[in-house]
Each structure stands twice: as C-alpha cells, then as structure tokens.
C-alpha cells in the first residue's frame, strides 16, 4: 500500500475534530479534499499518525453573505461548488477568474478552499487572491478563536500561522465595492498545472476615474503569496495611463526574488510577473469602466 499506516478518525463535529487535534497536535492532520495531503501520503512525504477526516461537517460548508457586504466561505467549500455559484462569481470576479486555473475538474470536485489555504502552496492561486482581496481568516482551537488578515496567515513556504491545535474555520471576503474591477491572470505550462507566475489585481475608481484603492498580489514568485500593492500604490489619485501601469510593472519586477524551477528561470518568472501585473491592472480597469 502506498501510504504509511495511520489511524483514521471521522470527526463527528468541529468540536470533536478540535479535541482530536488538541490531543494529537502535529501528529494529527485534518483530511479535507485530500488533493494535496493524499499525494503527500502516497509519496510518504507525510506520515501522520492520525488522520482526522473533516468531510461532511456541515458547520464547515456554510457559504453565505454577512452584513456589511461580506461573503463567508466555510473551509470545506469545494472549488466546484463555487464554480457553480453564479452569485458568488459575480460578487467576487477574482474568484471567478482564478478557479478554472486550479488543477482539473476531477480535482476541483474534491479540493476545498480551507485545504488550499492551509496548505499554503505559494504557487497556488487562492492565497494570492485572498491577499489581494484583504480576506480575513477565522481559526479555532479548543482554547478559543481568533481572526487574522490573509497577509498575516501565510508565513512561509507551505507554512501558515495556524498552531498545531488550530483549524481554519472560514474565510471572509469583502464583496467588490462599486466602481471596482478585478482580474486574475496566470501562466502555466499546461492547463491545470501550477502557475509559473500569477497575478491578482483589484482596483477602485472615483467618479472622476481616478484610482482610490488598488491591490495587487502575485503567486508563484516567492515563498508566500507576494503582496505587491505597495508598487501599485503609484496609481492612487491617478488615471491609470499605460505609462504609469508599465512603471508599476517594472517596480513589481524589482521587488520580487523568484527562485525559479525546472520550467522557468528566475528571470523568466520575473518577466512574467511584470507582464501579468500590467495586463491584470489594465483588465481590472477595463472592467470598472464596463461595470459603470
């Protein structure tokens, strides 16, 4: 058999899952969609003593609108459920753009938002999307609950701020403000592969078409999703001219240190990051104009 032996426990509630995690700590792993964890078990890269299956816990499947124009996605929300949720896709165009880039339909039927974010693969689309959207993560242990910004959730390569006894419960996204546009773009070798580089952009304009807020985050070019909103801030107070956007893209390229991989040299990744940033910003701007 491929995986090393483990004890399998199907959690009956979030409280049950948390008590098991408190008991086993790092020796226990939550099993969500299994689309990253089971490959790791099959390769024996991961050898947890206990698997705590959280599938079927209705408390983690909620997907609803909160007051104040926010949207809550339970950790167990599967990609495919989101792809079929037209309301959500209209409210969060970044998700609509990003979801089809994640793996293949068969994997999207199982993979979950919470598993994706907890796995914290820097090449993954969703961590960058949540950073760009200023999402908030709600995490819980037997000891209590806390909430943190997406930007503080991702702390390193495949590493989050989650403590050994904590679970990601849900992620809250602000729905897109009026006169805003968003866009996610990426380059991958083949459909469904992890991105060589990807970029999420959200931009908000005032009535005079001047930028009041801009968010830019990249995937695949660092150990965590890279928040490049600082570079993009040059657009604030301005109308997004081609010249200005190109200057932002150059600044983005200067600010990153991609490691490269078998498919792309660091220079190529840096090149992609610049091109994608400029294209995503332009497309986001077009979408504001379109929505207005």
């Amino acid at each position: 058999m491929k995986p090393a032996p483990f004890k399998y426990i199907k959690a009956s509630s979030v409280a049950h899952a948390l008590s098991l995690k408190a008991e086993y700590g790092d020796d226990g792993r939550f099993l969500a969609g299994g689309q990253s964890l089971i490959p790791a078990l099959n390769f024996r890269l991961a050898r947890p003593a206990v698997l705590i299956d959280i599938n079927g816990l209705a408390e983690l499947e909620a997907c609803d609108c909160l007051e104040g124009g926010r949207l809550r996605l339970g950790a167990l929300t599967r990609y495919r459920t989101l792809e079929r949720n037209g309301d959500l896709l209209r409210a969060c165009p970044l998700f609509a753009d990003a979801l089809p880039h994640i793996a293949h339909p068969q994997i999207r039927n199982r993979g979950t938002v919470g598993g994706n974010l907890s796995h914290a693969d820097p090449a993954s689309e969703l961590p960058a999307v949540t950073v760009a959207m200023r999402a908030r993560m709600r995490v819980k242990s037997e000891a209590g609950e806390r909430e943190l910004d997406a930007a503080d959730f991702f702390v390193g390569l495949l590493t989050t701020d989650l403590r050994p006894d904590e679970m990601l419960i849900d992620v809250t996204l602000p729905v897109q403000k009026p006169r805003s546009g968003g866009c996610f773009l990426e380059v991958a070798r083949r459909r469904g592969d992890f991105a060589l580089a990807g970029c999420a952009a959200v931009i908000t304009l005032d009535d005079g078409s001047r930028c009041t807020d801009v968010r830019l985050a990249l995937c695949g070019v660092g150990e965590t999703p890279v928040d490049a909103s600082g570079a993009a801030a040059a657009l604030i107070g301005e109308k997004g001219s081609d010249k200005l956007i190109d200057a932002v893209a150059t600044d983005v390229q200067r600010g990153i240190a991609p490691a490269g991989n078998v498919h792309a040299s660091p220079d190529y990744q840096r090149h992609l990051a610049g091109v994608l940033s400029a294209r995503a910003l332009r497309k986001a701007l077009q979408r504001v104009a379109h929505a207005a």
Binding site: L31, G34, Q35, I38, P39, N42, N55, H104, I107, R190
Partner: protein, 163 residues
Amino acid sequence: MQPDRHEVQVSVNGSAYRREVESRMLLSDFLRHELLLAGTHVGCEHGVCGACTVLLDGEPIRSCLMLAVQANGHELSTIEGLAQDTGELHPIQQAMHAHHGLQCGYCTPGILMTMMAFLRENPAPSEQEVREALSGNLCRCTGYQNIVDAMLVAAKAMRASVP
C-alpha cells in the same frame, strides 16, 4: 501498530459491496484488489494522469486521491458499468471504437468516466470545451484528436437517445 481497519459499504454500478479494509487503502486499490473491478486503471497515484477517474455520487474524482474508508455510504460508478449486460456498448464507447479514440487503452476508462459526467452537464459542447474537459486526463498514444472527434460524435448520439 495494529492495522487500523474499518468497514466500508459502497454501491458500485448499482451493486452493494461490504468489505473490511485498512484505513490507508486507496479507493483505486480497493476497487481493483478488493472488488476485483480492475477496469479502473492506476498510472501515477498522485492525481496527475487521470487514469483512475471514477464517479463518486455522479461526480468525477481521482480514486487514487481518496481513501476507501471515505467512500463508505457513497455510490460509485466505474467503467464496468457502462456497457449493457448483453455486451452492447454505450454510445460513448461505440464512438471511441468507431473513431479510433484508443490505442493501448490505458487512459480510456478514466477518459470515459470523465466524459460521462461532462456530457451529462454539457450535452452539446464545442470542440474547445471537450478539450478543456479532457485536460485532466493524459493519453500517451492517440494525440487526443481522435478522442475529441469521438466525444463530439458521442455527444450527438447521446442527445439523440434522450427522449
């Protein structure tokens, strides 16, 4: 460590099965070695090739990325369920045969299970949509073109057979 064993009850292609297996047994191995339904193939065992695709409650999934215990209480469909008991092929199988959509056939079960679900959801796809739907299934023999042709013909045949 004592093997961690669990009872698994599943329905596969409409037949009920009950087995006791170790928790680390993958669903793909369960189908092949426990239920002796070896039509589901295994290529990479890490989710990349698509050969092991089966339907779980009607949705295509990688059976190498799910534990057999997780399928407890669920309904599965595999390649063995496509043809009639009389041996008459399903239109999707007939189309693959007629259009030379397979050579070695290793990828075929996964492709057909993927396309069964896809054509149910999208009965009149464009060629581009078929290609997109096939993107999670690798074929080392055909170069895909004949599979795409077969699926467009199968879609038509399946539309015609729906009253």
